[in-house]
Symmetry: C2
Subunit: 301 residues, 2 copies
């Protein structure tokens, strides 16, 4: 097997593992499975609908290849003749507004000139921010990062702040997480270490979410909470369709539209010039949708 | 007054006229009014929420100016130092799935090098296509176009087919209409004629919609019809956030976010890999979401 085939094989296994862990936590929902194959490559899209906690959850695996067009060069940030890419991406939308939306993507790119790299990101988008949950989330990510390279967490946390951001709203998407790209094997970390890093993130992902599902999956919520969730989902749609690089890359490179846009929430609302009532959970959440919050240490001080 | 001030003044008046005609047809809903002012310019956003027929309707007027950055050059398709633009844009989302979504935009651009032009578009997006309604809509547009220039309708109808199109879905947004840009005063039509052309479109817009409101505004509809409407609204969101030039121009040039994204529906749904039941109104509608349908003449043959 070539390098990318090895990565793709493991990623495909992890897709199943993620689904199995999430099904166990949801206790009701089951992931369906849809294989697709197009000129660009193929993939497996697994979707869970109307679970007891997850309203719409998707876990994608894809393995694609193609020519590096000028437009693709912009995405890749590298020049080459051909590229191949294997990746996992997942977004989970819960029923309950007290459970956050979560997202992960890990990907491996290989060019025909021998250059290869990992990229990815994992971020949490609470409809209603709980500072302690956000701190726990960041602490878990930092521990995984630190076990590979002490530079990863601070650099990738900042990158996430900048990437998961809606300029037109002057809001972060949620409480951030980590984002990285062009992570190439080199003096600091060899291929196997970087591979293990992405695998560690992907296997931690459903565990992190299971804790959050168990904590608030059945917490009572008001109509006001649900309404707010629909507005926050609207922002999620805005981010994914306007800024998300994976969505753009997927749609422009001829990927499978339904598998790419499965990230969108089951329902989203928009209301002109909505201003939440002063002092409520909505306003408190908006005040925390900022870059450069040191989630791990801020509570201690 | 300079030319653009004259245009802006008339556009602002038309905004009021559009709202007045729509309020009359709705019989219940009233347009609110919000003035905004930013570095780029100012505008008035008028929104009607939860009318008897219109669920969320917006009519925007804006008058903006700024430097022509390299990015702005791409939008304008012209080089210059400074630009100014005045425009009306409107989108109406009805409660009833048997009433279409409608959209209009008319705009006037003026550069500091003396170049000026009109642009705009009007298109109809039925959730459920009625061929005769679509033909009537196109016939009305053709009559307006023909009274100014016989080349307008055929050229602008084709432009609309190409513009109001979602490549990732291989679907037109709806039954099209007309789209035009860089319409400069010249040998064929002088400034006043082109100005009158955009004014004619903008004043016809609420009249066209009033007929459609009256026809189906209170028609009984099923849960299935409402569900389908929510999916079609999802497609509308996709078009507006991924492709719409006005949205991109507005957000990137520092426009008023709430006034730009007021075009989004009150609610939209997405379901993975949804396939409508065979032979139903959904499937029939999907089959008509194609370019190059000759709406006016096809029924006759």
């Amino acid at each position: 097997m070539t390098t990318i085939e090895t990565v793709a094989k493991r990623f495909a296994e992890i897709q199943r593992e993620i689904c199995a862990v999430l099904e166990m936590a949801d206790e009701k929902g089951k992931f369906g499975e849809k294989h697709w194959s197009k000129e660009i490559g193929n993939g497996i899209t697994r979707v869970l609908s109307n679970g007891s906690i997850i309203e719409k959850g998707a876990v994608n695996f894809s393995f694609v290849k193609g020519n590096v067009t000028p437009r693709m060069e912009q995405f890749l940030g590298e020049k080459a003749g051909k590229y191949a890419a294997a990746g996992i991406s997942s977004i989970l939308h819960p029923q309950n507004p007290w459970v956050p939306i979560i997202h992960i993507n890990v990907r491996f790119f290989e060019l025909d000139n021998g250059i290869c790299w990992f990229g990815g990101g994992i971020d949490l988008t609470p409809h209603i921010i709980d500072f302690k949950d956000a701190a726990d989330f960041h602490r878990t990510l930092k521990e995984i990062c630190d076990s590979f390279n002490a530079r990863f967490y601070p650099e990738f946390k900042k990158w996430a702040d900048d990437y998961y951001f809606l300029p037109h709203r002057n809001e972060t998407r949620g409480v951030g997480g980590i984002f990285f790209d062009w992570l190439k094997p080199g003096a600091e970390n060899n291929f196997q270490e970087l591979f293990n890093f992405t695998v560690s993130l992907a296997t931690a992902y459903p565990e992190i979410y299971s804790v959050l599902m168990k904590k608030n999956g059945f917490k009572p919520f008001s109509e006001r909470g649900k309404k707010w969730q629909q507005f926050r989902r609207g922002r999620y749609v805005e981010f994914n369709l306007i800024y998300d690089r994976g969505t753009k890359f997927g749609l422009e490179s001829g990927g499978n539209t339904e598998s790419i846009l499965v990230s969108l929430p089951p329902e989203a609302n928009w209301e002109f010039d909505y201003t939440p009532p002063p002092g409520g959970f909505e306003e408190k959440t908006l005040q925390m949708l900022k870059k450069e919050i040191d989630w791990i240490n801020e509570l201690k001080s």
